[in-house]
Amino acid sequence: MKIAVCIKRVPDMGARFKIGADGASIDETGLKFDMSDFDEWAVEAALQLAEKNAGSTVTVISLGPDAVQETIRKALAMGADAGVQLKADGVPAGGLAVAEALAAELREGGYDLILFGRVAVDTAAGITGVMVAELLGLPCATALSKLEVAGGSATGERQIEGGTESLSFPLPAVCTIDQGLVTQARYPSLKGIMAAKKKPLAVKPAALGQAGVTIAKMELPAERAAGRIVGEGADAVPELVRLLQTEAKVL
């Protein structure tokens, strides 16, 4: 099987974020970056499929500046065979521009399966993968927490609100991968890291499309107020519930 996985380099979500000087971006000083969690699971799913089907290859593609090469190398260290960087200064919003660039790269690849993470953890949008499928005219199964491939077709499962949908679709196809499909993305071993240094990583210019939407502004949400002890004993319960309803608005 020829499998492609599209991955994204994102900042570590545990950080304290600051808004950049232009008011429309995140200030990157001091931020640590890594592969988006869902993309890691997609890479892991691809590697597991490749292990089950002898002779398969896994190619990893990422769009962005040269820094994404580090992210691609991580996927190579996990066991992917080759990487492609679609070079661009940044990742435009709205999904369309990126999808066009990815589709252009994937179109002639002859891939049986193209995987994406369900969403990228920084934007939490989940647009690009489905758009790529549409642009390539391929079937697309989203948010899969189960995936089985046999012959030229596949079945999968995904959680929807209040239930589970079982899907079937032919290959080649695009799938977006959700939490639960794999138990954990494999940790790259030192052996893998050393081997990754020798694997091919092609750099090509990204043929970006038009961005339909742009980021006009970014701002930090209101500061979290300091916590307080509401009261003592069971008598404090009514006040707590009131606060949860009116202040925190979670009830």
């Binding site: 999904g95 609100e161 339909g212 970014m218 707590l240």
Partner: protein, 327 residues
């Protein structure tokens, strides 16, 4: 003059609440620019009966697309049909609920129409002649405002973020034929199993966790009852109690367990050691109940009650049930 198209989600013949929320948002935009709100409703024959609910919240026209195959979700046919409807309506924005349904459809429509998509919007407005969309990013730590200047914008709306309005319009029903044959759709839903699925810790909007302060495994009943009272809560535990076998290891929240960020986290009888806090500190609202006023958990909690969990938690369970019953 900006028309707005809404793709209204219905499941099992019943309209979903988020469809009403999306229509309300569409109404607001349309009113700001003197346009119309058109809704598209897919479903098995008979779903058209739901159309007047859409009218009641502001839809001028409801295009009803009924087909036996539409008992199940059909992304390809829905997307093709919605795109065709958009050609006719020429909307400035297309809105859909940010559910599995909407997240699957919106990008397809975007690709077909060459438009960008903004997802998980908490607010959609007209800013001049551009659609402006506000949505949280980076696990809620940043709010971004996207604009689609002069162009069509596809937007998925976060369920529960927009209050359903009451600005009623005609809601004229028009039949709409599927733009592509459902039989030709390649991704088929072969089965839909409803309910069942235990609420996953990482996705539940509310998490209620118990720690050693509960003294014995039987007392976890208190935590389960409180979670039950919330209706949409999952139950978590600290490492101390999972190591002791009171709860399965998959319930453990902490450095070596699950890491969660629900809207509400209730820590019952948990001291708040670094091990545990590292797994839940990103929760939006944290409530702590513990008998030790110096327990570290109170440093990280938004609201705390000091006292005996065996007295407080049953009272809280009652109060939460009552509060929710009023909704």
């Amino acid at each position: 003059m900006a028309n707005v198209l809404v793709i209204a989600e219905a499941r099992g013949g019943a309209l979903k609440k988020v469809a009403l929320e999306a229509t309300t948002a569409a109404r607001t935009i349309a009113d700001a620019s003197g346009g119309q709100v058109h809704a598209v409703l897919f479903g098995a024959p008979g779903v058209g009966a739901e159309a007047d609910k859409l009218g009641a919240v502001g839809a001028d026209v409801v295009h009803v697309c009924e087909h036996a195959a539409f008992e199940q979700f059909d992304a390809e046919s829905f997307a093709a049909t919605a795109a065709a409807a958009a050609q006719a309506v020429s909307p400035k924005a297309i809105l859909v609920g940010g559910t599995a349904f909407g997240q699957d459809l919106a990008p397809r429509i975007g690709a077909k129409l060459g438009a960008g998509v903004a997802a998980d919007a908490i607010d959609v407005t007209m800013d001049g002649d551009a659609i402006a969309i506000r949505h949280p990013m980076a696990t809620g730590k940043v709010i971004a405002t996207l604009v689609a200047a002069g162009q069509l914008a596809i937007v998925t709306v976060r369920p529960g973020a927009i209050a359903v309005g009451t600005s009623a319009k005609a809601g004229t029903v028009q039949p709409l034929a599927p733009a592509s044959d459902p039989a030709a759709s390649r991704v088929k839903v072969t089965k839909l199993t409803t309910g069942g699925g235990k609420l996953d810790l990482a996705e539940a909007p509310v998490v209620v966790s118990g720690g050693r302060g509960l003294k014995a495994p039987e007392n976890f009943k208190l935590v389960e009852e409180l979670a039950d009272a919330f209706g949409n809560a999952a139950v978590g535990a600290t490492r101390a109690v999972t190591d002791d076998g009171w709860r399965p290891h998959s319930d453990q929240i902490g450095q070596t367990g699950r890491q969660v960020a629900p809207s509400l986290y209730v820590a019952v009888g948990i001291s708040g050691a670094i091990q545990h806090v590292a797994g839940m500190r990103n929760s939006k609202t944290i409530v702590a109940i513990n008998k030790d006023k110096d327990a570290p958990i109170f440093k990280v909690a938004d609201y705390g009650i000091v006292g005996d969990v065996f007295e407080i938690v049953p009272k809280l369970t009652e109060a939460v049930r009552a509060a929710r019953a009023q909704r």
